[in-house]
Each structure stands twice: as C-alpha cells, then as structure tokens.
C-alpha cells in the first residue's frame, strides 16, 4: 500500500527530492515532510479551499493533488509568497481591515485572492466574491475580505 516514488519538485524556490508514498496528497507532503504548516487541511475533498497552493503558477487544492503528481513542478506556498513579499500589500490590507479572525482559512484565501490580483485587471465586488467563492471562512462573513481585496485591486 505504501509504494514510494522518488519525487523532485521546487518548493518556494528550493529544490527538494524525497521518496514519497504514492497515495500521499501534496498538502500532506508539504506539511508532514517539509514542515510547511501554513497550508491547512479543512475538508480533504476540495470544498473548503484552506489548502490552496500554487503549482506551476496556477492555484490548486493541495488535498486534491498527489505529491507525486508534482514531480518536476514549481510549488509555492504561503510561506514562500510571504518571504518573497508578493503578498505584502494584500496581507497589509487584510491586517488593517481585520479580514481574518481565527486565520485558518487565511493562507488559502490569500492564495485565491492573489490569483485575481496578479492578472492586473480591475474587478467588481461581485467578481471578487466569485473569485473567493471556493474558500470557506466561518469567522468573518466575508465582507472585510472582499473590502481588503478590493482595496488592493482597485487602489
């Protein structure tokens, strides 16, 4: 059951090679093997969005992709995008507006929001709500999150 495959990927700019159980999900690999615990596990069926990460520039659910499928891929997590300062403005807007409470959904929420922001397009509140409609937040009621994203997108 625990057949392992040698897998190599670039995670937050650093190349890692590990023997990975074939059935291990990418988010479990990041958390358990690499200690990158910023990507959270909420539902393990792709609904809640807490494990949203970036693979080869696209956001994906870390719970719906196997780690071995990321062989040869470029993986970016909340830790990497925080250190590279790509999320700096968005994080500052979230902080200023209290667009997070418990913070469990926040890394995934930031990844989903940044996916829209980096297109450089303006967006309406409805479009912002649609963009994060796959990211479950139980604390905020979403309004402050929409406000924060809107502030960064529309200045």
């Amino acid at each position: 059951m625990d057949e392992a495959l040698i897998t190599t990927m670039t995670v937050n700019g650093a190349r890692v090679t590990r023997s990975v159980p074939a059935r291990q999900h990418l988010v479990d690999f990041l958390r358990e093997e690499l200690g990158l615990t910023g990507s959270h596990i909420g539902c393990e069926q792709g609904v809640c969005g807490a494990c949203t990460i970036r693979v080869n520039g696209e956001i994906v659910r870390g719970c719906l992709m196997l780690a071995v499928q990321a062989n040869g891929c470029r993986v970016e997590t909340i830790e990497g995008l925080s250190d590279s300062k790509e999320l700096e403005k968005l994080q500052a807007a979230f902080h200023r507006r209290n667009a997070l409470q418990c913070g469990f959904c926040t890394p995934g929420m930031l990844m989903a929001a940044q996916d829209l922001i980096r297109t450089g397009r303006k967006a309406s509140r409805e479009e912002i709500r649609a963009q994060i409609s796959g990211n479950y937040c139980r604390c905020t009621g979403y309004q402050a999150i929409v406000d924060a994203i809107e502030e960064v997108i529309n200045g």
């Binding site: 959270h40 909340i78 409470q101």
Partner: protein, 795 residues
Amino acid sequence: MGKAELPLHAPGTQVDKGYIGESVPRPNAQRLLQGRGAFTDDLRFPRLAHVAFFRSPYAHAKIKKLELKNALRSPGVIGIFDGRAVAEYCKPWVGVLAHLKGIKSPPQHAVAIERACWQGEACAAVVAESRTQAEDAVQLIEAEWEELPVVVDMEASLRGDVVIHEELKDNVCFKREHDTGGVDEAFAGADVVVEDTFHFGRHTGVCPEGRAILADYNAAEHSLTVYHATQAPHMMQDIFSRHLGIPEANVRVIARDLGGSYGIKVHVYADEMATAALSVMLRRPVKFVADRLESFVSDIHAREHRAKVRLAVSKEGQILAFDLDDLTAIGPYSVYPRTSGIEGNQVVNLTGGPYRHQKYKARMHVVFTNKNLCCQYRAVGHPIAVALTEGIVDLAAQKLGMDPAEFRRKNLIPDDAYPYTFPSGIKFEKLSHHKALDLLLKIMDYQKLREEQEALRARSVFRGIGLAAMIEVTNPSPAFYGVGGARISAQDGATLRLEPTGMVTVMCGVTEQGQGTEGIFAQIAASAVGVSIEKVKVITGDTGVTPYGGGTWASRGAGIGGEAVLLAGRALRSNMLDVAACILKVEKAELDIENNQIINKLTREPKLPLEELGRIAYFRPDTLPVDFQSELTVTRHYTPRQYGFTFTNGIQASLAEVDPDTGFVRLLKHWCVEDAGTVINPMLVDEQIRGGVVQGIGAALYEECLYGPDGQLLNGNMADYLVPMSGEMPDIVCAHIETPTLQSQLGAKGVGEAGTAGAPGAVMNAVNDALAPLGARVTRMPFTPERILQALKKV
C-alpha cells in the same frame, strides 16, 4: 451616551481614554497572515503517536465482538484499545447540573463499552506511528453488531415507544415549565390570537479546523501537558485531572491558535478524553485531529427544535401574553460538563424578551435520540427564541394590518423602564430597544425600502423586509454553571507585569480564537497603564502561565476578562508611580504616566522614561530607600455578581428577494444595530457581528444535518452540507448604541453572539414578507428552494 461619558473616562478616574474606542488592528494577526501560526496539528513532537477511532456505523447497536487480530498486525500499529481498556484510565462522566432540576443522563465513557448509541460514536481507538497507518488499521477491525431499535424523531422520543436508556425509564433528559399566571385569562380576553409552529434544523459549527488535541504524558513526573484546541483551558485542566486521576497541579492545558470554535470547542468530547488517556497508557505523546467526516458525526450539533407559540394581542396592537411549547432533541447523552439542557432552558428564558407583556407560560422538553450529541453552539438558544418571537410578532402585526416596525415600537420595553424584570424571571440592568429601533430604521431607510418593495411587487419582483429585535445574554455570573456544581469559572484574572525595558506583559485566563481578545486586552492595558500599544504583549491560553479563568464563551471575554485587565492595569500604574516617586524624590500625586514616560501631572513634562524606571527597579534597587520594595507585577480578578447576566440588546433587518419560480432566496442587504455597552474596538465589534450574522444566515437558508430513519447522517461532508460562501452573502451594515453596564468600570457588555442570535429571525421574516402577496409562509428552517416551492404549492 457619548464616549466622553463612559465610566472608563469619567471625571476623577486615573485612566485616559487611550485606545478605547479605536479600531486598532490586532497585533497577533500577523503570524496568521503568513501561515506561521501554531495550530495544534502544526506541532511536532518526538515519539508522537497518532490515534484514529473505529466508529459505530449504526445509530444504536450492541457491540457483540471486536476482532482486532488483523488490525493489530497492520504496519505501524502501536496498540488498539476498546472501551473497557480505556475506562481503566479514564472515569466516565454524567452531564447534569444541580440547578437544572430533574435533568438526567447516563454515564458516558471515553470509548463506548458494549453499546453504541449514535452513528459515529467511538468504539475502539487505534494508535499508530502515523495517522495514515492508524486509519489503515481501523479498516481491518472486524465487529459483530446486534442492531437495536432506533429513536430518531423527537416526537416519537417524547412518546417513549422505545426507551434508549432503560435505567432512565423514559427519553426525557430535562423538562421545564414556567407560568406567571394569568396567561389563559389573557388569551381568553384577547382581541387577536395568533399561533404557529416553528421548526429549527439541527446544524453544527463546521469549524474550519477540526477538533484537535495533543496529549503528552510524562511518566516520571506523573504530569500531563495537553495542547488542546479548546475555549476553556482551566475547565479542561480540572476535567483531565479528575477523570484521569492526575493531580491538578500536574496538568497543564495549552490552547494555541484555534481554527474556529464558536462554542464547538468548549465541551468535553469522548474521543479527546480517550486521546489523553492513551497518552497516559502509552507513556508518550498522542495526537488526535478530527477529520471532516468525523467532525460531522462527533462535533456537537445544536438547535433541533420544534416550537409552538401563541400570542395574545389587543386590537390596538398591545402584546398581552406569550404561550410557548418547545421540544428539542439532543442525542443519546447530555454533554459534559455544561449539559444539553441549557439551550432549551435559554429558549424559555428569552422568548418574548424584548417586549413588555407580563404574562408568559412556557413548557419545554429536552429528549434523547440516537443521533449525534447536541450542546451549546454560538448564541445558545437565542436564534430559536428570537426567531419564534419575531415570527409570531410579525404574524400578529400582519393580522392587525399594522406595519411590523410600528408594532414593535408599541411593544418594546421603554428605554426608561430599567431596571426591569422580565416575566421569565430574568433581570435587565439597562437596555435601549427604542433607540436601537430608531437607528435601524434610519440607517436602512425603512420607508424608502417599503415604497421600493411596493413598486417592485407590481412588476412581480418579490422582496421582503424582515426585522428581528433581540436580547442577548453576556458576561454570565456563577448563576450560569457554578451554582449547578460545574467547575467552570465565572471569574477571570489578569496579571500585568512591567518588564525592565518598559514593556508590559499581560496574562489573562480568557482565550483567543480570532475574535480579537488579545487585541482588546492590549488596548485596555496600554490605556490603563499609559504606554503605547506596541509596548504590550499579551499571553493567553496556558493554564501554566495565566491566572485562573473561565475562558471564552457566552460573550464574556471583553466584559469579564477586559475588566480584570483594566483593574490590573490601574493597579500596575499606581505601583509604577510609587517607584517613580522614590526615584524622583517627589510626591506620587505629582506624577502621571503618559506615552511610555513618567510625567509631571500638571505640566505634562516628561520626567523619566519607563525603561529607566524598569532598569532601576530591577537592576539597581540598591539606590532606592531601604524600606521600599517595588511591586511591578500585579494580578486582579473580576466576577460579575449584581446580575445573573449582563444583557445586551439589538435589532437586525434583512432585505431578501425570493424567486417564486425557483424558490431561491437572494439576500440583498443586512443591517444590525447592537448595544454592547462600551465599544473597545469598533472594527473588531463589527467583524464579530458580521461573522455572527453570516452564521445565522447559514441556519436560516442552508445548514441542516439530515438524518435518515435509521439514524444515519446523510450529508456529513462539506459538499452536501451547505455553508454560507462569499458569493451568496450580502454586505452587512453595523451601527451601535452604547449603554455601558454600570457593574464594571469598563462598561463593556459583550458582542460575540449577537449576529447569530438575530439573523435567522430577520431572514425568516424577510422571506415571509416577500412571500406574503403570494399567500405562502415558511416556518421550517433552513428555507431551501424546495421548502419555498412547497409553500408556494409548486412542488
């Protein structure tokens, strides 16, 4: 009352307004924004073992045999334990309280022995080197079951055709009757009597983070350190101590970051007690994290109520009397230690709460069923009481042809009637229903919305406006739990310490789950001491460090913990001035503290930076008079005592549009006016309300734990159990009245549950207002498209 008049900055007090009333961002949010928080599942320990549970597939069945042979041979398995094995280390519990007269419940074990009473009850614990391996082994356990008759429906449970726990004789866990007298006469003499039955769907908290516990037993010390996603660390310390037989001083409970709690994480869970026991049994750290499927079948559920209510009204529109009959089902056990009788009890306490009638009769039954356990979830009882009250009030207004806002104005308790005793026996110190109603109608432009609604109806667009006035229990005294024998602290303490560098460390028994507790404590401490907010560091959630306290529940953090911080801050300020007076060789009365400096009170001229005060006090006390000892760590406590609860009030409004062809409800806007007393941080207060409103909207429109006739949960995953997502949620406008409680210096009441309390009633009334011209009405939450189409007789 304007901010200048609040008790905190009343003339003669030593404290500047400082940060009170300012929207200061929470310092502790930074780590969460970078994914660098420390949730329980993020912790890493040497020799950490993982537990997965073998759970009953049946709602009610005898465990005839558990064959563990194959499971024990599975890779990585450390041990497998049944209920008897775990019971040797963990005593069972009974979820009853002395002040809920007659409440009964059988003993509950950490792991079921002989019999499972709901689908999902843990029947064996598998410990392995990884969670994956533990789950693999769970699949290999072979069980022989004997299915027993199942009680699913609460009316059937009350009838008692099948009794779940034979030794209890019937299925009634708790019942309460209340009667002021004169109710039947009031109904007999009323011009108008309206009656309806409201159904509330069983739903649950769906915390983003599953329940999580990491227990680390040290055999050499006979000590247990528990990293626990809990709202009440001291309560759990006591419980681990008593049920595992470890001296309380040897048990330390640490609650780091919590991924949502909302009342879900304030209870004793069997699988968590088992995890702690397993750590003792195996003498190594053991972790359990509930996955999403487990969360649905084992996190507490709430709110399954059937409430029949009658209202007697005069033709002038005066409410004369309420008559309530509530029935609620709680699963097979009353939850420990708060009991599952509280929600129904609250419904009796709070029904009709905003209004000034004096005649009230209520009957309430709490019954057992073979479904997952129910207990206190955010706003306990309030959403039921508010919705059934406001639903029947709207029906009366409709029958009299009165505008719902006018009807409320006529009946809300006058703002000058306080102190006031409500016919259920609860006492209000000071509420502001009329101010709140006026403000609500103004911010929503009620009249214009009514005109717009009328115009749109002509074009077959069906919009509804729903109002829901509410009262909310906050800052509970020992009357809530302590008097009933529960070892749950109603008081909280705060310790403040001046560090040598002039920093202030705050330690408090109230915990942080993201609502901003640590942020407001920093604001209060900085204001009370006279330092800037970046000089304050707050520590919560560790029984080894903080003063004893109750933790976070019943909207008590700001009002109780905040008051303790304020009192400790004032005491520390005074002690710091004693030291400064010695150093500067002047009278203490000449000095004050402002902006991290000792200053001259009159000229406001800086005299001594606090880091210099700290340096001398800690490192050169030899330069101070020989009989002087500085005391730069102080602790103060606070317990509300004058009233059983500090009530807040508020009113919400919902604007909804119903599509009569599809049955879909679109929420266009929501408003909430709340009087939470002194507002410490307006931004955090608004965000508490907004989040709470959205939880209430979930109850009204989407969320329900659906059970089949065999007691199987049909939608126990996030694809089938719908929660509010960003696309469907309206913007929510918040506004405030500030009537500080005079019981405390701070004047803060509480706000954590207000949104959830009022939103379901407001949405229900909006939907029914939209449906009114179509002759339809809904009273069974959640209002799914199917139920709305049924009401419209389209399906």
